[in-house]
């Protein structure tokens, strides 16, 4: 009976990880083009002029949701839409995982 319970719990844990978690090491490579804007401190969007957001330490899930919104056009920004259009789900997870742990020690 206990074995069955642990078996079910084990399956539930695995089910939660079906979505491959992002790999920050792969993400660092994939984020190369992102850093062209997001890696230059104080870099400004051209018009209207505002600074592109800091991403280091941001929640990975939030970054993924933003990339998905750019990819499917729910969120409007020409450069970000074209950037995101190239990304697979796994790319987004990896890039987000990279940014989530990046920049912490650089302040």
């Amino acid at each position: 009976m206990k074995a069955k319970l642990f078996g079910v719990l084990g399956l539930m844990v695995l089910a939660g990880t079906v979505h491959a978690a992002g790999d920050p090491v792969a993400g660092e490579n994939k984020a190369y083009t992102c850093l062209g804007c997001h890696g230059v401190e104080g870099y400004r969007n051209s018009y209207p002029s505002y600074r592109v957001p800091k991403l280091g330490g941001q929640h990975a899930a939030y970054i993924v949701s933003a990339l998905k919104a750019y990819k499917n056009g729910d969120r409007d920004h020409a450069t970000m839409q074209s950037q995101a259009s190239q990304l697979t789900e796994q790319d987004m997870q990896d890039i987000a995982a990279y940014f989530a742990q990046a920049g912490q020690g650089e302040q």
């Binding site: 230059v40 505002y50 991403l55 280091g56 941001q58 939030y62 920049g103 302040q107």
Partner: protein, 113 residues
């Protein structure tokens, strides 16, 4: 000083005065008072615990302001944020942006190594 010298110095001053990340709009203290509704999702100091809601603490103030403006105008769509921003005046948005930008950073610049 020659005119050229004055012009060069003025240009240098203009360039370098923009380089600082100091916020030049909004009142952070007023922003803190106005942020009660925001804290529920984004955390009291902008360091949100839930991955659904982005961390705001230490984010660029002009980016935060732009985001609030876009939520208010509907240029950026989010059911919760459109509702939240609808009632904010420009002054409110500037104060909130200044407040979160000045908090202990939870987001950081990342540089290409």
């Amino acid at each position: 000083m020659t005119r050229m010298t004055v012009l060069v110095l003025a240009a240098a001053f203009a360039v370098f005065s923009g380089a600082a990340s100091a916020v030049n709009f909004g009142d952070p203290a007023a922003g803190k008072e106005k942020s009660t509704a925001c804290a529920a999702c984004h955390g009291a100091d902008g360091n949100s615990a839930s991955p659904t809601f982005p961390k705001l603490a230490g984010q660029y103030a002009d980016y935060l302001l732009q985001s609030l403006k876009e939520y208010k105008s509907g240029a950026r769509q989010n059911a919760i944020m459109n509702g939240q921003a609808a009632n904010l005046s420009l002054e409110d948005m500037e104060d909130l942006a200044a407040y979160y930008a000045s908090q202990e950073p939870a987001v950081f610049p990342v540089s290409a190594d």
